[in-house]
Amino acid sequence: MSDHVIPRRVYAAILFALLFLTITTYWVATINLGPLNVVIALTIATCKATLVVLFFMHARYSPRRTRLVILAGLFWLLILLGLTLSDYLTRPFTGHL
């Protein structure tokens, strides 16, 4: 990991991408897209996070084991959110809330 020195211009490009995405997410939030708003906002946030993880945190140049750890963390967060939401989201179908 220390072996990989990332060029300054790559870091600068990521910085501008992140700032651009921030402006975009703010701008999209001002348009009423109903339920899509939160989907787009989270998608943009995920893109930004991915850029930070891959480049600023060097995950792109890290051993496979590091990427496994990252994916495991994400997967387990999704389990926590997803399986719990499966309770709340299926309650309307039972006829009582």
Partner: protein
């Protein structure tokens, strides 16, 4: 434990030490993801249950300050990445400059946060007995659900701010070590792993900004 140069006694060589430190920090960050994850879950459930009130409550936040803070943290991630790069290439002065910049930007973030919190106190938006939500027009349910929103607001941003303060402490420590010339291309592990921590704190805010500030701007 003995130290030979920078090598700690339980390790065979510097490479093993660096691998272990890096893996250790990544595993720690996964624990942080799950720690914040519980709060994100509470947020998700409550926003799913009370979407209108959450929108109403979030409009009490200053979205411009939130956006500014987001940019501040993003730039601070950039300066932190550059600091790590400087330590990799052995540029001591650059390293110090970028560490100071990151620290300053972190300070700006915390300053803005403090201003926001002060405004919330002033407007009685802190959960507890002093909470008031006039926009509810007397509807007790709406007041209660708005209080939930602000509990999550303070919980999430407060926990985040605590992590930033720890991060600032780490940066100060890194600065003192960098000033002593402790970091070389062969040994810059502490800079790298503190960098990982700092970027993680940035990522949390990347999600907090849209979830707390951008719920409903279009009214």
């Amino acid at each position: 434990m003995e130290r030979s140069g920078e090598l700690f006694g339980q390790f065979q060589n510097l490479d093993q030490q660096r691998e272990a430190a890096s893996l250790g920090m990544w595993v720690f960050l996964v624990t942080e993801v799950m720690f914040f994850g519980g709060l994100f879950l509470a947020y998700a459930i409550n926003r799913f249950t009370y979407p209108a009130v959450f929108a109403m409550a979030s409009r009490q936040l200053d979205v411009h300050l939130g956006a500014l803070n987001t940019c501040v943290l993003i730039v601070s991630s950039f300066t932190m990445a550059m600091a790590v790069r400087s330590s990799q290439t052995g540029k001591k002065k650059q390293l110090i400059v970028f560490l100071i910049l990151t620290l300053l930007l972190g300070g700006v973030f915390l300053g803005i946060k403090y201003a926001e919190y002060a405004a919330k106190f002033h407007h009685h938006l802190v959960p507890g007995r002093a909470f008031r939500f006039p926009e509810a027009n007397g509807d007790v349910g709406i007041v209660a659900h708005a209080q939930l929103y602000f509990s999550l607001y303070f919980g999430l941003t407060g926990l985040h701010a605590l992590h930033m303060i720890v991060g600032a402490g780490l940066l100060i420590w890194l600065l003192t070590q960098a000033l002593r010339g402790r970091f070389t291309p062969a040994y810059n592990t502490p800079v790298e792993i503190c960098g990982l921590y700092w970027h993680f704190v940035d990522i949390i805010w990347i999600f907090l900004f849209p979830l707390l500030y951008l719920i409903d701007l279009h009214r």
